[in-house]
Amino acid sequence: MTAMARIDSVTLSVINNALVNICREMGTAMMRTSYSPIFNEGLDFSCVIFNRRGDMIGQAEFCPTMLGSAQYAVSWTIEELGLESFKPGDVVVHNDPYRGQCHMPEHMVLRPVFFDGELWGFVANIAHVGEIGGMAPGSFAADATEVYQEGLRLPPVKLISRGEYVKDVWKIILSNHRTPKTSWGDLHAMIGSLGIAETRLTGLLERYGGTFLTEASDRLLQYSERWMREEIRAIPNGEYRASDCMEDDGVTDQPVWIRLRLVVRDDEVIADWTDSDPQAKGPVNATFVVTAAASYSGLLHVTSNDIPRNSGCYRPIRVVTKPGSVVNVRHPGPSVGGNTETHPHIQNVVVAALSQAIPDRTAAAEGASGCNFLFAGVHPATGEYYTNYHIDGSGWGGTAFHDGDSALCPENGNCRNTPVEVLETKFPWRTLEYRLRPDSGGPGKYRGGLGSSRILRVLAPEITVNALMDRTKTRAWGLFGGKEGGYGGIFVKKRGDTQFRRFSEAFGTVSDSKFTRVVLKEGDEVMIHSPGGGGYGPATERSSEAIAEDLRQGWISEKAAKDLYRHGRQRNRAARAKRGPRSGTGKR
């Protein structure tokens, strides 16, 4: 009797839970010990376990953005360094976007786990390190034209070798980051949590044995793959197309198009992106792994929530891209915004294509912008230099069954906002408002969610700001007659001004939504509007009760109720005529 035959489904699900729990523990430790708000308030990290072949066999629900890419980052590391190079006590770091990473701020640390003297697998986490040098403080160089402006690039190298710090590498890293103390704290939080995961995984190995656990995790991979294939089989065969654009690339004021041909054939999906625009000059390029992760995520959004999340889920999905395009950046093209802005756009396009096949399981477009706002300066109270990465949530699209949520992290991430009280305790800003914007949700039978508005006033002599946003000139589309969500935007009111203006007007930036190194003075104010989500189904089909409730709570204005929803008038039934799936915001 082989070990395989002894693994019953009860044991399998016990092992699956155990692997997920190890990843959760890893994440909790990181949250509690890290330094940057994007870590501990934002939870912008992922925790994973891999087998020695480089298959992801466990993960926990923190930030999904890195999960698809973890697959590639780990297998690249194994391939480049070779299995034999890993020794007990090693920690490898890696953020290279051309070697399977999603963009430079995302750092993976990985630790080999040995059992009975042999390499069994890896525990790893990928997290957003807030400042890694480069041309813009906060390392979101929205007008970068090459990777060298985006910060310090690290191919897979050892940070710790057999338990000893590789001091030369640490020195290089810490002397290239603007806030080395924070990097030091965050990297230690990441590495510390690997130790916890290693201990727990070793405990599991002692309980079940190495061979047994390998076979059990193989079974889990097969199980997820089988289930995913069943789910895909339920999607009608066909070829579905959709497209969307980035409004500009930060360097040239031109839209950049992403085009998808999605083929569903029995139990397989091919996401073919070859018709997308060539690589952009500015940093809205996605690495191949971002495009792959977004393609996977689109499918995961419309399939069962209960499938154990491992590499098996991805096996039935093939991703095709052309190197040197906006969906597969080639060295030395910049890519920092590809992971935060282009990533949700790509995923939205996948869902738009699927909406033609399975309308009830999909949603209209969401705001799809991280509203990345980076700032840096010297805190007047402490005299210390700081940088910070700040994000906002946008409106989600309506679905066949309910309105979209307001102010939610884009689909590619699952980060939290930074509380006003935390932000102001750490940085010299005063928040004047943090609220939802009425009428910013796309009208529809099921309304899009609202975007938010945040106004910040500078309380220091100077703060240097950078932004990387999208959907300030384009909008989140509606589905099946639903209307577009509200525009996002970032605006400035200099001290003494009476009105907010675009940064292009006030500071001559090329792009309204992507710029770096703008210096604000004490008393200046920044207003960040996150975009709203698209509506689902014609607004004229929205129930009067739902409209009345929206009015009552202040989610829509009287004017919108009258003009967009025809509330209180004879409903124009003809308005229903214009139905049918529509995807993308313009040309195909």
Partner: protein, 685 residues
């Protein structure tokens, strides 16, 4: 009934199915117990019922402590007051924005949880305090007047009985002056309307978490007020003149009038008695490191006692994304009980719970129309439960129906009925083991250093399997396991927790200020105890919550016993480094430490009763023998004992079964059982 001296100290536990009553004679240690069906609609009726049922004359009851689920249920069922929420202008949407994250990674089905207040009832008032506690914009009287007009409009048509006002202003945890003024103003303008303010309810940073907590408090306050009034009236009608109190989430109790003033502290009122009872019996058996498992019909609560002390957490979620911040005994509740349903997910995995068949229709074997396999059905098929002595013979179980059900489930798993039953029990045990991991391993504790205290109707049946999974060598089973929670309520101490947020650094510390704050909190806590009628010297525990400068989450570091001084703060810093090393595998010596919060707990210890010991005597004889299935061992012929026939110091080797009215103890092969001189059953693996 003639009583000499004492009188009874009584506890009441309101469960989902039954309301339990336990009275302990403080002089003789005699125990009186009763059970009465719970009524979700009218919980006071069950209290009256269960007190009457006990047969105790009213004047023999000295003190009564109540564990109640009224506050929790009001939140879960969203049946509370209409709340108006007042906050700093510009931040009215914070309760709707929440934290921007989602429960699931990949789902279009999930939506954000709704706050306990409508958006239109979230009102802003002009004022602002900054991050150093400085007033940036004053709170003007005419703005308060305008606010009052808006509040009046929102509350129009709602009686004061159904209305409440919650106030949470930015940075009020550093400077509460504006909240204090608003509270006084609103109370004067809206007499009779409950007002909750955030610096009193939860003086913590993060505006969403604090706001969510104060709204929950206001939401249930009028209801709690009515509940307390109704209990008071009913107890009077029964002729009870004794003082009575309500269990709090922190495992202590507070007099009813204090408790109703801050109902957010009562969310675990109905659950925290269990761990107190478990700790009591653990201590009787000489164990101070305990993991308590309270498994009933629908759920299982797992808690930790370390060195005789409870662990606490400060966050509780009514549903995902709706946090409530208050002191809670660290209990992890999971949907694993006798009634938990076994099902097969889409991928073909067997799952157990969290859905429960409840008492009606109940498990298949109840024969009341239940058609879904439950944990109880599985235990019956394995011979672990006695079909003729369930609830002391008050209910007959039908093993044939259970076997049929398990066979059906087994067919879908490719297993025989018995193997399927084993799998169901195994999954239930695994779920419990996971809950134990959460409260132990995830907190840096090794469960093998702990004894497992198992109680509740189903706890003693599963303890053996669960302890095996966790490598725990010692199991304790209290007498009357089904009544342990009510017993715990009767034993609970007075406990007041006070916290205050600070913003100090170790490199520029004014120790005098920290010590001053500790003293202020201590006297506030002691005053509250005195007001409750506790006139002895309370036990004081002090701690400071710290983190490395730059980190965002803090750890409570206890200060040593005795009056603290500058030296004890330095010792606490050293202890923080050590704790960090222990929890995360590293520490950063020389790093600046931030002091985030000072905490003081005052405990008014109550006298613990001496329970009557079981008689010494002859060895007990098994009532019958029956075949019982243990994992992988097949059916083994087992002796079956009655617990009330086991004398002190009685010992037994497994496999065996010990039955009592409300529970069944399963002794696995290889385990040994001994009855302690206090009647606690000790099992060794």
């Amino acid at each position: 009934m003639k009583r000499n001296g004492g009188g009874f100290r009584c506890g009441i536990d309101t469960g989902g199915t039954f309301t339990d009553f336990v009275g302990v004679d403080e002089a003789s240690g005699e125990l009186v117990a009763s059970k009465w069906p719970s009524s979700a609609e009218n919980p006071v009726e069950s209290i009256v019922g269960v007190v009457r049922q006990s047969g105790l004359p009213p004047d023999s009851i000295r003190f009564l402590i109540l564990g109640t689920t009224v506050a929790t249920n009001a939140l879960l069922q969203r049946r509370g007051a209409r709340v108006v929420y007042v906050t700093t202008k510009g931040f009215e949407d914070v309760l709707y924005i929440q934290r921007m994250n989602r429960r699931y990674h990949y789902s279009y089905e999930w939506t954000k949880p709704l706050p306990f207040v409508e958006r239109r009832d979230c009102l802003g008032v002009q004022e602002r305090v900054g991050p150093a506690g400085e007033v940036v914009a004053p709170l003007e009287t005419n703005d308060m007047e305008r606010l009052a007009d808006m509040v009046a409009e929102r509350l129009d048509g709602h009686g004061t009985q159904d209305s409440a006002i919650a106030v949470s202003l930015l940075f009020s945890y550093l400077n509460p002056a504006h909240e204090i003024r608003l509270k006084e103003f609103l109370q004067a303008r809206f007499p009779g309307v409950a007002v909750s303010v955030s610096h009193e309810v939860a003086p913590i940073w993060r505006e969403y978490e604090r706001g969510s907590t104060v709204v929950a408090d206001a939401f249930v306050k009028p209801l709690l007020h009515r509940y307390v009034h109704s209990v008071r009236t009913s107890l009077k009608r029964l002729g009870l003149r004794c003082p009575w109190a309500i269990m709090k989430s922190n495992g202590g109790h507070a007099s009813a009038s204090v408790a109703e003033g801050q109902p957010v502290n009562l969310l675990l009122s109905g659950q925290s008695g269990g761990i107190i009872g478990g700790r009591f019996f653990g201590n009787l058996a000489g164990d101070r490191n305990l993991i308590t498992v309270d498994m009933g019909g629908t759920s299982c609560d797992v808690g930790v006692v370390q060195g005789g002390a409870l662990s606490y957490i400060t966050n509780y979620e009514v549903e995902w994304g709706l946090p409530i911040s208050a002191p809670f005994v660290d209990l992890t509740a999971i949907g694993a009980g006798g009634g938990s349903i076994a099902w097969i997910d889409k991928g073909g995995f067997l799952r157990v719970g969290p859905q429960s068949a409840g008492a009606v229709p109940g498990p298949i074997c109840y024969g009341r129309g239940g058609s879904e396999v439950t944990v109880t059905d599985a235990n019956l098929v394995l011979g672990r439960l006695n079909p003729d002595y369930f609830l002391g013979g008050r209910m007959d179980l039908d093993p044939d129906r259970a076997t049929e059900g398990l066979a059906g489930l087994g067919r879908r798993l490719g297993l025989e009925a018995v193997a399927a039953a084993e799998a169901v029990v195994e999954m239930a045990n695994e779920n419990m083991a996971n809950a134990i991991r959460l409260v132990s391993i995830e907190r840096g504790l090794d469960p093998r250093d702990f004894s497992l205290v198992a109680f509740g109707g189903a706890g003693p049946l599963h303890a053996g399997g669960v302890s095996e999974k966790m490598g725990m060598a010692r199991i304790l089973i209290p007498p009357y396991p089904g009544l342990c929670s009510a017993f715990g309520a009767a034993l609970a101490d007075y406990q007041v927790d006070k916290v205050w947020s600070t913003n100090y650094r170790s490199d520029s510390l004014d120790a005098g200020r920290v010590l001053g704050q500790l003293r202020d909190l201590e006297s506030a806590a002691c005053e509250e105890l005195l007001a409750e009628g506790f006139s002895l010297a309370p036990e004081i525990r002090r701690s400071i919550s710290m983190r490395y400068a730059g980190q965002n989450y803090e750890h409570d570091v206890p200060l040593g016993q005795g009056e603290p001084n500058a030296e004890s703060i330095q010792q606490a810093f050293a202890e923080f480094h050590r704790l960090h090393e222990q929890l995360y595998g590293y520490s950063i010596s020389g790093e600046v430490i931030e002091l985030i919060r000072v905490n003081v707990t005052a405990i008014g210890r109550t006298r613990k009763p001496q329970l009557k010991a079981p008689p010494n005597g002859r060895a007990a004889q098994p009532r019958i023998r029956r075949p019982v299935c243990f994992s992988q061992g097949g059916f083994v012929d087992c002796p079956v004992y009655r617990r009330d026939e086991l004398p002190a110091r009685f010992a037994l080797e497994g496999p065996a079964v010990v039955e009592e009215v409300d529970s069944t103890v399963l002794l696995h092969p290889g385990q040994t059982l001994r009855v302690s001189r206090h009647g606690v059953i000790l099992i060794r693996a």
